[in-house]
Symmetry: C3
């Protein structure tokens, strides 16, 4: 994929400044709000049944994250999701901990069945579980996934008719036909709570501003990963890394992203 | 307003170390707790119906913020608010996103009708909506307000019989008769989630320690804005700004505030 | 207690990388997740009735914190706690604000009666209230405790048949027979929201990896306090202290802890 195209996706987010509605967990909700702002978009969080749909209908993207789900929250997600679908607003689903408990796996399957999900973003364990490809999840962390990761991402995308973003040391983005691998990022991102959730927010901001969900998702992963690379150079540990990660996302230059985006077409056999 | 008077309000917070009870949103609740501490007060958050009133009755101020409201939370706010009113404890209402959804606007109107709100603190869009003066709100951000801002703040104060704090590049504080404009602050404050919510916590701490709600609210805005000015000088982006903002609020010297408070009487026509 | 033994407890956490399940408050939930990661363990938060027990059963420790409790959350804690007890998984209870409201005191008494709590970690006011020894609590802060603190900690441990960790300028750890005092720490820890909650997470991580709950709790307090000492040397205020605290916890060397752990046997009369 052309690096300039990736940088152009970042420019698009910053010029259209989309509203990104979240129904998300209480652990990383502040991180999601701030990374959305640093990406150049505007966050809003509204989960009450009475307003979830109304807020979704005015947003540019809707991010659903089941990190601390409840049965009431799943109902809010369905209301907001149906409103988003009715308006053609892309929905990003982050299936946090799918495979760890029955409730989480079932909630994801229900959301994937009843809503038109634009992008499903999870770690290798979560995507492997949902693909039926032998993923393993421990708490909210991936405990691995059997088989070729690019192939699992592509199979999962075909199974659900969605774009899949499978995060990890390398990120795999696939719509079932086109599959890309993004190499940007730094191991410190895994030592901080919330980087997975933040990826979904960034993917949401890019989805709201872009036109091709594979391209926008690749660009989102490359941009966030590139911010992580730049932040790691300044970090003395996970928390000074965190400060630098938000700063670098806000300051990321299109020229820097065009020069350093590490994106390849994946060989899915 | 005399600058020394403003600095004295900060001294009063630090010597009486008031307890500030919050019923607030899940996005910025940690920011509110920490800025309350950095201001020199003690935060507590307790929203359960069973204890919201009991906790409010022992506090020096009560901050209500509808950023992620639910119908159950509105009930808690009414219980806590009635307990605060019965004890003469000032209530600060932050009408986050009023005007964006019907639920938010209606919740604010109900809280303003059933409780005696001491200070209503919102952005120009929110205050404009509640004043019936053509405010516009997108998500939780102001999308502008028609007319002269000082006049809208004063009209809103008269309509609800409260002190209004309208935040923005300049903050307008009015009780309907006296109106002041505070120029302290920095544009980085708008690039960070939660600075509006934090303003309400700071206003609450100052209200608990002060005697005149216009004076204490002016001082709160000047102090928090001055901390923002000092923090901006050290920031490389929104998150290093955030670290510096809390540090500077904790370290703010009364002498510095007296020398740099930028407060004028507003001309409300 | 032998300093090398304390350092060995830290090594044990890092090699077994235990999963620490939390049902906790919305104020400091992110701090708890990140300090768990920085300690070398893996955090998970899951409070839904449908999954709280299932998640607890796969964890190495369960941390219950009533900082923003609701009646529904107490039910989740009982479900998760019974699952943990059935599997022999240690439960850490943080009785935030016990004594401040009737609901908090009663919730703690119920959790202590119906569950087998391994470690009860609170400030002097909270432990004093639960021990029936004249503790006082203002909001969520200790307002003091009559009598000798080591003796109160030991009496509370005997009353509930648990290990007690009483935090403050000095931490007292007791099982009713053995009582230790840990001198590590820095006054900046009290100027930041969440350091008490984080202590419970660290105690949970150490409990999951250790074999003797007194030893593991002493080591947890010494390690976290030592990180605080190192962080204070770099801080310009409470928030730069916070950044450094997480970094230092992640970077803490076993050698440094062995050299600087300040642990003594307490004289409980």
């Amino acid at each position: 994929m052309d690096s300039q195209k990736i940088a152009d996706e970042l420019s698009a987010v910053r010029s259209c400044h989309p509203l990104v509605h979240h129904i998300t967990n209480t652990v990383t909700i502040n991180d999601c709000a701030n990374i959305t702002l640093c990406t150049g978009a505007a966050p809003v969080m509204a989960a009450a049944l009475e307003e979830a749909g109304e807020m979704a209908a005015m947003a540019g993207a809707l991010v659903l994250n089941i990190g601390t789900l409840s049965s009431a929250q799943v109902e809010s997600m369905l209301i907001a999701g149906k409103a988003a679908n009715a308006c053609g607003i892309p929905i990003i689903l982050d299936p946090v901990g799918a495979g760890a408990t029955a409730m989480r796996t079932e909630a994801c399957e229900r959301l994937l069945a009843e809503l038109n999900i634009a992008v499903l973003k999870g770690n290798a364990g979560e995507i492997g579980v949902l693909a039926g490809a032998g993923g393993e999840v421990r708490g909210v962390d991936s405990a691995g996934c059997a088989g070729d990761l690019a192939a699992v991402a592509a199979a999962c995308a075909r199974k659900y008719g969605t774009v899949v973003v499978m995060t990890g040391p390398e990120d795999y983005i696939s719509d079932g036909e086109r599959t890309f691998v993004v190499g940007n990022g730094n191991p410190l991102m895994a030592r901080l709570s919330g980087t997975g959730c933040m990826t979904a927010s960034v993917v949401g901001a890019f989805a709201a501003a872009g036109t091709d969900l594979v391209v926008s998702s690749v660009a989102a992963c490359a941009a966030f990963g590139r911010a992580g690379e730049r932040a790691a150079a300044q970090a003395r540990g996970p928390y000074s890394f965190r400060t630098a990660l938000f700063d670098e996302m806000a300051n990321l230059m299109e020229e820097d992203l065009a020069a350093h985006a590490d994106v390849k077409k994946a060989d899915t056999i």
